[in-house]
């Protein structure tokens, strides 16, 4: 790496903690930060005791509990005080990195050099056992004291994550585990034994029973089972282990007050601890029962402190504590990436976590080869402590600063990837649906308004007529002789007309129908607003196109099923007004757009799907037509029936016998017979009921048609599953729907280009 590039990455000194910034956020505490590391006194003492007691110590705990901090700022200073030399090793499994054994030897040389410790010379081809067991192989400090090296393997679980992800390293990992097993168990390696059998004099070089070194493995608790899988080779892995737990409230309070007591008063410190605890839903009011993740606590303290510095306050006040800790975590991530090129976010989310969401690292040089990612950007993120740049085996690598961030990064990545699935077709479908729902909403409002108007006119007429009848009946009954027969006939006629009007009002249900149209109009308008909002969102915010379109499609189908019909004439007017495109045009666009993606979709599957799509569209329209026809017939039969039955009723009951001419009586009789015939026909032909059934079928077919139009590429990639589902749905509709009739089906089939000889749906 060039010197000028190196300058852009802050050195550890630049990030060192001080009294103004005593919390490192997500960065682990380093040895130099030991003065600010609090709340882990008993863990440090326990770990130190265990390290001194046995050759191997295992430290494990969940991510975010501060294992690295405990090692670096807690254990390491104590080890140095007792003439032990901590050598922190984090193996790098990237392809271009040096062999693992070489990395360990290199770390020994580097850490010894940094501590001014004279270390035995490293020789090529030498096993770790040989290196440490050679007589005279002693680590001397500047005061000529013997230093005992402690190989501290931090984040050892990466053997099971990154190591396994890289098959090229598999054999090497096996070898290194063997080397470590020999060291830990104090066994002379088989290769060395064979050599010594051949050259026994060389045995003098080694001290077989002296093991002047120690090892510490630190790993995440969720990999403990994998780790214990090593126990056949390394029986010691199940002994001398320290499980690091989350902090309780008292420890957390020490983190806040001991490190930054001057920056926060006790009440606010308590509030911060409770705030972090609440974020983890422990909910206990007792301080010692709280359960706190140190990484989160440190981040929140760090973020609050940064806010304090920003506003120039001397202390962190209670007012700064707003939102939730999860929001602070997400906010931290988003703030780091605010006003940055999208490529930087893509780089972090695609390269710095694995597919399954584990932390990964990238060589610095390689990161800079990423289009749109510059050294300045990376340097800034390192300064903001989102990323860490660290030299591993002589190579600078970039990674997320802490595992606690992987959840946020993964969530953002998944959301972004869902957004990336949106294409022109999905967008066009959404726009088409927006126009359709807007058109449907207006159509229903218009119909509602028209029915209300009719209801009003009808109602007003009925009220007037019935008032006239009511007002006239009393004089007719009281003084019939004073009323002229012509007036009597007129009043009787008005009575009959009123009865007819009332009956028709009941039959035609103008008010009720108006209400239903209003409900449908509101519902469509609500979906339309929903779509408008979705279109205003970024594709990331919309989520998966499949889920999104499915949700809208189901909602539209539900409204369609539960709403009254819009007649063809009005719908055509609305379609013209809102410029609704025909689905077929969309489907065509979509086919062209997805051509490349449909390689696996076999030709006949495609043909079948297209055929089904057209059949369901044809069937839907046919059912709508039939429903419409039957409703008209229902009306044609119903209106005369209501009229004639009222004439019969009022004629027989209300008209006085003396004023009925014989011809009128005959007419009434014939009307009675006609009414009886109409009633019989209505019962027999069930126009209304049949219309309802056709309408249900029409809506159902339309829903399946929309389903086919919005099939996702993923669904189409599994043709059998996809076709099975649609086929079953079509069969179900077919079984539960009335017949269309050959003549109409032929017309529809021709319109939609469906092959009649291949009756799939009909």
């Amino acid at each position: 790496m060039s010197a000028e590039l190196a300058e852009l990455i802050p050195t550890p000194d630049q990030l060192r903690l001080d009294a103004e910034r005593p919390w490192p956020g997500l960065v682990a505490f380093r040895e130099a930060d030991a003065a600010f590391f609090h709340g882990r006194d008993s863990d440090i003492a326990n770990l130190y005791r265990m390290v001194m007691r046995e050759r191997l110590t295992v430290l494990f705990g969940m991510s975010g509990l501060g294992k690295t901090s405990l090692l670096q700022a807690g254990l390491f200073p104590k080890l140095r005080d007792e003439n032990l030399l901590p050598i922190r090793i984090r193996l790098d499994y990237a392809d271009q990195s040096p062999p693992l054994l070489q990395q360990i030897k290199q770390a020994i040389v580097v850490f010894a050099g940094a501590a001014k410790v004279e270390s035995p010379p490293v020789q090529n081809g030498e096993t770790l056992w040989e290196y440490f067991h050679k007589k005279g192989a002693v680590f001397w400090n500047t005061r000529n004291r013997v230093m005992t090296p402690v190989l501290v393997f931090d984040q050892f679980e990466e053997v099971f994550t990154l190591g396994r992800d890289n098959p090229a390293r598999a054999a090497e990992i096996k070898e290194i585990i063997g080397e470590l097993a020999d060291l830990i168990e104090g066994h002379c390696p088989e290769t060395v034994k064979s050599r010594l059998d051949q050259y026994p004099e060389e045995a003098q070089q080694y001290a077989f029973n002296h093991h002047p070194y120690k090892l510490v493995f630190s790993l995440r608790e969720d990999f403990l089972a994998d780790f214990e899988g090593l126990r056949r080779q390394i029986p010691s892995v199940i002994h001398n282990r320290l499980r690091l737990r989350s902090m309780h409230g008292e420890q957390a309070l020490q983190v806040v007050t001991k490190a930054g007591g001057h920056l926060v008063d006790t009440d606010v410190a308590l509030a911060i601890v409770n705030f972090v605890a609440a974020a983890q839903a422990s909910g206990s009011p007792l301080l010692e029962e709280l359960d706190i993740e140190p990484a989160l606590l440190s981040l929140i303290c760090h973020e609050l402190n940064e806010k304090r510095i920003q506003i120039g306050a001397t202390q962190i006040g209670a007012a700064l504590l707003a939102g939730s800790s999860a929001e602070i975590l997400e906010g931290f991530y988003e703030r780091c990436l605010a006003n940055q090129a999208p490529e930087l976010r893509h780089f972090i989310e695609d390269r710095l976590i694995t597919t399954s969401g584990y932390r990964d690292s990238v060589a610095y040089e390689s990161a800079l080869e990423t289009s749109g990612v510059t050294a300045e950007m990376l340097g800034r993120l390192v300064e903001q402590r989102l990323l860490r740049a660290e030299d591993w085996s002589g190579q600078r690598r970039i990674e997320l600063i802490h595992d606690v961030l992987t959840g946020v990064v993964r969530k953002s990545r998944d959301q972004r990837r869902l957004g990336e699935q949106w294409d022109e077709h999905h967008e066009a479908v959404l726009k088409d649906w927006r126009q359709r729902t807007a058109a449907a909403s207006e159509a229903h409002y218009k119909l509602a308004s028209s029915f209300r108007r009719q209801n009003l006119v009808w109602g007003f007429t009925v009220v007037i007529f019935s008032s006239v009848v009511g007002a006239s009946l009393f004089p007719i009954m009281a003084v019939p002789e004073a009323i002229h027969p012509v007036w009597k006939l007129a009043i009787i006629s008005i009575s009959v007309a009123t009865a007819i009007l009332v009956a028709l009002q009941t039959f035609l249900r103008f008010g009720e129908r108006a209400e239903k149209h209003v409900i449908a109009a509101d519902w469509y308008a609500s979906v339309c607003r929903d779509i408008y909002q979705l279109l205003a969102f970024s594709t990331e915010e919309r989520g998966s196109p499949k889920d999104c379109l499915d949700r809208i499609r189901k909602e539209i189908s539900k409204i369609g099923q539960q709403s009254p019909e819009i007649d063809d004439r009005l719908w055509k007017v609305m379609v013209a007004k809102y410029g609704v495109e025909h689905h077929e045009a969309l489907l065509k666009d979509w086919r062209q757009h997805h051509e490349a993606l449909l390689k696996d979709w076999r030709q006949h599957h495609e043909a079948l799907l297209k055929d089904w799509r057209q059949r369901t569209a044809a069937a839907s329209e046919a059912h709508y037509k039939l429903a419409s026809g039957l409703r008209k017939k229902n009306l044609m039969l119903g209106v005369p029936l209501v009229t004639s039955s009222n004439v019969v009723g009022t004629g027989v009951v209300a008209v006085p016998e003396d004023i009925i001419p014989p011809a009128f009586k005959i007419a009434l009789l014939l009307n009675g017979i006609g009414t009886a015939i109409l009633v019989t026909l209505q019962t027999f032909l069930r126009f209304g009921e049949r219309a309802e059934k056709h309408l249900i079928a029409a809506d159902w077919y339309a829903s399946v048609c929309r389903d086919i139009d919005t099939l996702s590429t993923e669904e189409r990639a599994r043709p059998k599953e996809c076709l099975d589902r649609i086929r079953k749905e079509i069969s179900k509709i077919r079984q539960q729907s009335p017949e269309i009739g050959d003549r109409l089906w032929k017309v529809m089939a021709t319109k939609y280009g469906v092959d009649i000889a291949y009756p799939l749906a009909h």
Binding site: V138, W140, N141, T142, R143, N144, R145, V146, T148, H210, P212
Partner: protein
């Protein structure tokens, strides 16, 4: 005194010159015990001297014309105790290395006889040679290593 330090035994008149030797040794990280004055006097002094000699890794009597006197001086007591420790405690180790800082040598008159039998190192004017420093460091490290091994 730090356990395992190098004991410098000298005549108080030679203190400035011996200070040069002490500096040379301390520069390479060797603990040196030099400040005899801090122990006070009387019986307490004797027992502390004895304890320090028992716990040092190397005894270096600094020889000069000032040490050729037959008078009862503190350094003669130290020689006596060192001789005892060598014979009783560490007969096989190189424990006493006499260093001369002037013309005095093993043949000079007035010396106790056993000092004549040990190999001397000449550091005229207290100028420590690299060979001398390395020799002391090796013996110092041997002692430190044996301590770790028996710990």
């Amino acid at each position: 005194m730090e356990r395992g330090a190098v004991f410098l035994s000298y005549a108080s008149e030679d203190r400035p010159t011996v200070g040069l030797i002490r500096d040379a040794l301390e520069q390479v990280g060797i603990d040196v015990w030099f400040d005899r004055d801090e122990l006070g006097g009387g019986d307490a002094w004797k027992s502390k001297i004895l304890r320090n000699i028992e716990s040092c890794c190397l005894f270096i009597p600094i020889m000069s014309s000032n040490t050729l006197t037959p008078k009862r001086r503190e350094f003669r007591t130290e020689w006596y105790y060192a001789r005892e420790e060598h014979i009783k405690g560490r007969p096989d180790l190189r424990f006493i290395i006499p260093v001369t800082i002037d013309d005095t040598n093993a043949q000079s008159p007035g010396l106790v006889s056993w000092l004549r039998e040990i190999q001397w190192v000449a550091l005229p004017g207290g100028q420590a040679t690299p060979e001398f420093v390395e020799l002391v460091r090796t013996l110092f490290r041997d002692y430190q290593r044996s301590r770790v091994a028996t710990a």
